[in-house]
Symmetry: C2
Subunit: 374 residues, 2 copies
């Protein structure tokens, strides 16, 4: 491996090559929700759809990027919209596949594999569903190592991937191709405007990337990471061990708070779920106050007045009893939660990355202080 | 000519075939502003750009649809956005040409000619500019016989033209293709959302139509009509005759009001210029009160409380002294105006047309009463 190959720096080993099983889908759903840091949408519907396809005989293969020649084309597919909408507005189920076909027609070359742009939440599952529909493998990597609210907040774009031609398709049969866009911000801006018109939920396929590019700039082995996390929580539950402790055992994160939700403020703003959650500590955090700022995902963890964990590091809320990851759309008064901080991948900590996904990019006048590995 | 051929019912003879001259551009600018019924944007910049191209040796030929075989492909191009924005935000000048190239690539067949979707305002000139850039002729017809605020308010779509693939390009280099849209309302909705993001001004190219289709459903000879109107006003000015009377002589319209503007209320709402103008009558309308409702174009002419002329018939405001057409973005207190009513083409008066461009389509609970030919 070369020095510029990020697989060398991965803390998680890849499970690829692997034929995805029904059990894997369950583990992925759980693990992706953990990595979703409160957002990314709910993978549940996508899981059911993918499971149906697996039961009907379709196969999805998880592969390593190293299984692909450098010039092979890889496309990221996923859902775009507000997670709150995703609960009530069912997709047709082939939005991403339709968008993928539009992009493939646009470049006139075959696509070799799919990759999630974000491993957190629903967009971990959409590539599995689309892979089953298209007969393509899924690459064990992603562009965020978590979830973020906007398309451009992705290592693919941060490190210079050309954003066109990309496509969006909806459940009604509309298909929009972004043939030329000047940069990733314009893709996000135009795609978001179209998505809002489409009912705040649509499927996208981004411009094809080469496997060579992704070997440098994708966050490695994150599908495996999600699978491992999901299996760890399941195993802890079966063996009556504490799921939060089990998550801390398999990950490099640390427990930053445990408490009860005392207030939830949340609104839908320009297609985003924006809000704040207040927490009152218990057990070893007794009498402490904390809060978490949200923009689809958990952005900032405040201990009192101090921003202790910030994007791009992962702020994860788990049900403190059973380890169930708590997404922003189901937050409610009285929930007892464990808040975990996980250091993000080094690809998200470079100056060019922090410009796009650091606290300032979300409107905060707070410097990014990397969460240390525990 | 067949019975279904609308050229038989045209009140204006075609001037085609004709090589467009610089003088024609001046007359078209003036006549298109008259037919713009207050909206459609200002053709001035488009005229200057086209004139430069004519001076550099480019040729634009005005042809009759009958010069084209029925299977020839014709594309309508134009600007999309709010006219108020068009005053301050200069286009790059090749937006429509870029959109045309995107549509041509999409269908993989050569385009034979261009047609204005709306003869009123800036979109009379955009096809001339694009024609000079692309080396294509312009057809003597359009889809409105006037101006309307939305893409779908066009006979092409009203009578069943499939709205995709269409394209939009902006001055920054963004190019969006609407590869599949379920109907014309969705094209309008998605295109409008993209346009607002692009800064409320962009160039579009609609899905190609066959000349055979347009022979039935385009409003015939409207480029000639605009040229004739422009030349009539110019001639009246030169010969010191009254321009408003000259317009009434060459057209079938009637003078419905003359008065002074006493109030203008106008705001930019979702990309549209929306408002109301109050008028106080003089000369033979002395002591009468009237007003005109606006949504980019003049929608309803009220005499007191009575809606006397409504869309789709044409409500035209001319400067009562020199005949200059007054567009909604330059309306101001104290202007002395003549208000003309012109009956629209019969293609705009069918039940299916009125559903899209009648008073009810603009939110008015008013029946459409056709203005009679005078």
């Amino acid at each position: 491996m070369s020095a510029s190959d990020n697989y060398a720096t991965s803390t998680t080993a890849t499970l690829a090559p692997r034929i995805i099983t029904e059990a894997d889908l369950e583990a992925l759903e759980l693990g992706a929700a953990v990595l979703g840091t409160g957002g990314g949408g709910n993978p549940y519907i996508g899981k059911l759809r993918t499971r149906e396809l697996l039961r009907s005989g379709k196969k999805v293969k998880l592969i390593s990027l190293h299984d692909l020649p450098d010039d092979a084309l890889v496309v990221s597919v996923g859902g775009i919209g507000a997670p709150v909408v995703g609960i009530e507005k069912l997709e047709h189920g082939d939005e991403c596949y339709q968008a993928l076909k539009a992009v493939e027609a646009e470049v006139g070359k075959p696509i070799s594999a799919l990759i999630p742009a974000e491993i957190g939440g629903a967009n971990s599952m959409e590539p599995m569903l689309t892979a089953a529909q298209a007969g393509l493998p899924v690459v064990d990597a992603d562009g965020m190592g978590r979830a973020f609210p906007e398309l451009q907040m992705c290592t693919f774009f941060i490190y210079g991937h050309k954003p066109a031609p990309a496509a969006i398709a909806d459940d009604k049969g509309n298909k929009v191709v972004f043939r030329e866009v000047i940069d990733m911000y314009w893709l996000e801006r135009l795609a978001r405007a179209v998505t809002v018109q489409m009912g705040a939920a649509a499927g996208y396929a981004d411009a094809p990337m080469t496997a060579g590019y992704l070997k440098k700039y994708a966050i490695p082995n994150t599908v495996s990471q999600a699978l491992n996390l999901g299996y760890a929580i399941q195993k802890a539950r079966q063996e009556k061990r504490h799921p939060v402790e089990e998550v801390l055992r398999v990950e490099r994160g640390k427990l930053v708070f445990e408490g009860k939700i005392t207030d939830v403020r949340r609104e839908l703003k320009g297609g985003f779920a924006v809000g704040k959650v207040d927490l009152e500590g218990f057990s070893k955090f007794q009498a402490e106050q904390a809060s978490i700022d949200i923009q689809n995902e958990n952005l900032i963890f405040w201990r009192g007045e101090r921003a202790e964990v910030t994007v791009p590091d992962l702020i994860i809320m788990l049900d403190s009893d059973n380890g169930t990851p708590i997404t922003t759309e189901v937050l409610r008064y009285g929930q007892r939660v464990a808040v975990l901080g996980l250091p993000c991948h080094s690809l998200l900590r470079s100056p060019e990355a922090l410009e796009v996904i650091g606290p300032a990019a979300f409107g905060y006048d707070i410097p990014y202080e990397p969460l240390e590995d525990s």
